[in-house]
């Protein structure tokens, strides 16, 4: 069988070795990572997940390795492609633990794949600090799988943030209360739409247009035309990457004049501003970061330097932070005793690139970014459930 070292790890080890640590004192430690490289979710994982695995391993090795009870371990990644198939995810985790002898297994990518893998992580007793799963069922899930932690937040928190941002705009007089809202007809979009409708009505908004479209729709111009015909003051789309791009383009083409324009997943991707340039200015989206904070800026610079790609302004930093939680817990415990590591994660707060991260009694991180906005070419967090560094939300100017 082939050696499964990735090129990066080899390079990182070569660099570290050249820096003159005596080779004999080096122990290597296998770190398992499984996420889509192909299949429907590969696009998102390529932006958000894989570069962070590379960066984290690079960072740990660059500072001399992971310190476990006085021994320094250099990390070596074993990566598997689960082809966006839960069966493959489970199989790969089994393989990592039983065949490859991986001591650390990083969490998978996306809500569905994380939850499908939760029972197997649980059976191995592995700590699983998820970073790309959104759920409102943290309570129930952490009872069944006490080793699983959630960091990215759920629909309730996100909807709360969006309502807060829109209410702020309305109360300042930047927008009226007529709202057009659409969603992608998939678990994600349906759940958020279901939460958002009553929440916006309770906040005094009037829903003048609502609709959904199937995942994989190739033409969203009818949706945008109909939304425009309803003459809304603000537009919200609970959308996935391809439709986020398509809806924004249609809004530009139709010249949708709204004071607030919100799209969901992929708005925070660097590719969004790459495609729309100055027209992205003022667009609101799901997620956000403390973009002006030193921690994030330093992280973003390293991300670009090591992986050659920019991080996104939402889950990227969260993925990296969840790896940091694992890293700090293992070092603090000083052994690979997973039960002790899990307890340590429950009991402590961690300093990460997104700030302090800690968990409530349901293993749930309760303070996360919910809404961001493109301001001057940077996607800045404008609303969160208790993160510092939010900037003032601005009204959307015209597209052209």
């Amino acid at each position: 069988m082939m050696k499964r070292r990735t090129f990066t790890t080899l390079a990182a080890i070569a660099v570290a070795a050249a820096v003159a640590l005596p080779a004999a004192a080096q122990e290597t430690l296998k770190v398992g990572a499984v996420a889509p490289k192909t299949g429907p979710l590969a696009g998102g994982a390529t932006v958000t997940y894989w570069p962070n695995v590379q960066l984290w391993v690079h960072d740990v090795n660059a500072r001399g390795g992971l310190d476990v009870g006085g021994t320094k371990y250099m990390l070596e990644v074993v990566e598997y492609d689960d082809q966006t198939n839960p069966g493959q995810t489970i199989q790969a985790v089994q393989r990592l633990v039983n065949q490859d002898g991986a001591q650390i297994v990083l969490p998978p990518y996306s809500t569905g794949l994380n939850l499908a893998a939760a029972p197997i992580y649980n059976r191995f007793g592995l700590p699983m600090v998820t970073s790309t799963a959104t759920t409102d069922k943290a309570g129930e899930l952490s009872q069944q799988f006490p080793n699983v932690f959630f960091t990215l937040g759920g629909a309730q928190g996100i909807v709360g943030g969006v309502v807060e941002a829109f209410t702020a705009l309305r109360d300042r007089g930047d927008i009226g209360n007529k709202l057009a809202m659409v969603n992608v007809a998939d678990a994600f979009g349906i759940e958020l739409m279901g939460q958002a409708k009553p929440a916006f009505e309770a906040a005094g908004f009037e829903l003048v247009y609502e609709s959904s479209y199937p995942l994989g729709s190739q033409d969203l111009s009818p949706v945008m035309k109909a939304a425009k015909a309803a003459a809304p003051d603000a537009f919200i789309a609970w959308s996935y990457p391809p439709d986020t791009f398509a809806l924004t383009e249609q809004a530009i083409v139709e010249d949708l004049q709204v004071g607030a324009f919100f799209t969901a997943v992929a708005t925070a991707f660097p590719g969004y501003v790459g495609r729309f340039g100055a027209q992205a200015e003022g667009v609101l989206g799901i997620g956000g970061v403390y973009a002006d904070g030193a921690a994030f800026q330093e992280y973003a610079a390293r991300h670009e330097q090591v992986t050659g790609a920019k991080p996104d302004f939402w889950a990227s930093a969260m993925v990296y932070s969840s790896f940091q939680v694992l890293e700090q817990s293992i070092e603090a415990v000083g052994s690979f005793d997973n039960a002790a590591i899990i307890q340590h994660i429950k009991d402590n707060a961690f300093e990460t690139v997104i700030g302090t991260l800690d968990f409530d009694e349901n293993n749930n991180n309760t303070s996360f970014w919910t809404v961001g906005q493109w301001q001057g070419g940077v996607f800045k967090g404008v609303a969160s459930t208790g993160r510092e560094g939010a900037v003032e939300v601005l009204p959307k100017a015209g597209w052209n």
């Binding site: 192909t38 590969a42 199937p214 949706v223 990457p241 791009f245 398509a246 383009e249 729309f276």
Partner: protein, 288 residues
């Protein structure tokens, strides 16, 4: 009114997606499940030339088409001709072609992942509004529609006026008789397949101006193209164009008037109804 124009613009894009497959399946008798990957590859090329050197996708087409032609010619000669020679019946060729081209589609996805990575690629080209009949439409869609008209028109003229084109149509209708009257079926089938690939890749370059693609999306386009080709009638250019426009109109109508959530379901229903009423497709000839 704007429903009709939007629907026609979408139908034009669909015609681009399906026309190449019709040549490959209808004329060369290869049900090509790797068709969508060729389309994505064309889109990749357009994306790459635009972001690297600001070369307009409308110009990239002139580079993409000949390259795709050669690549598909080679694919046909290397992989598919042995199957045609080996097949004892049309049915067996169909099964073999499905398996082979499905394998090829995997290989193509693998190569594209290795070369370009799994990231979404999208760019902005001609994404400004154009006023038409009192409403506004994306300029890139109009450009793609016009290109579809040019490509389909040229194909139609070539197939009905030129000697090679008429021979190709002959092998689509009756391959055995075509051989008897001295038509070089082997060579023309390869020509039709290569041409189909070139049309598909050009279509990909054009639609990438307004659709977001990634290395794994090809199969969605293959599916749509198959549905259109079969609805229109295998091997008939007019049928494909009519079916593509019909599908575009229907989807836009359902999305605008009924519910955008039902567009794909409606498209599938249309497909079923046409198959039940006219199993040979809109313009297809009834076989035995």
């Amino acid at each position: 009114m704007d429903v009709i124009v939007t629907g026609l613009l979408l139908g034009g894009a669909y015609a681009l997606i399906a026309m190449g497959l019709n040549l490959q399946y209808g004329m060369a008798r290869i049900m090509n499940l790797a068709n969508g990957e060729m389309l994505v590859a064309g889109g990749f090329a357009a994306f790459w030339f635009w972001t690297a050197a600001q070369v307009s996708p409308l110009l990239t087409v002139f580079l993409v088409a000949p390259v795709a032609f050669v690549v598909n010619w080679l694919l046909y000669v290397l992989f598919l001709r042995p199957l045609v020679a080996r097949a004892k019946s049309r049915g067996q060729l169909e099964v073999d072609a499905i398996l082979t081209t499905f394998g090829l589609s995997f290989v193509a996805v693998g190569i594209m992942l290795a070369v370009f990575g799994g990231d979404y690629f999208s760019y902005s080209y001609l994404s400004f509004p154009v006023a038409l009949l009192g409403d506004t439409y994306g300029a890139n869609r109009i450009a793609a529609f016009l290109a579809a008209v040019v490509i389909c028109g040229a194909l139609w003229l070539w197939l009905t006026r030129s000697r090679a084109g008429m021979s190709i149509r002959a092998i689509a209708v009756a391959p055995e008789s075509a051989r008897l009257v001295g038509i070089d079926v082997r060579r023309l089938a390869a020509l039709a397949f290569a041409l189909g690939g070139a049309v598909t890749a050009s279509g990909g370059a054009l639609i990438s101006t307004f659709l977001t693609l990634d290395a794994s999306t090809g199969v969605l386009f293959t599916l749509k193209a198959l549905v259109i080709v079969i609805m229109g009638g295998v091997g008939d250019v007019r049928g494909t164009i009519v079916a593509a426009l019909l599908l575009g109109l229907l989807e836009t109508f359902v999305a605008s008037v009924i519910d955008p959530g039902l567009t794909l379901a409606a498209a599938y229903l249309l497909f079923v109804v046409i198959l039940l009423v006219r199993p040979q497709g809109l313009f297809g000839r009834r076989t035995t």
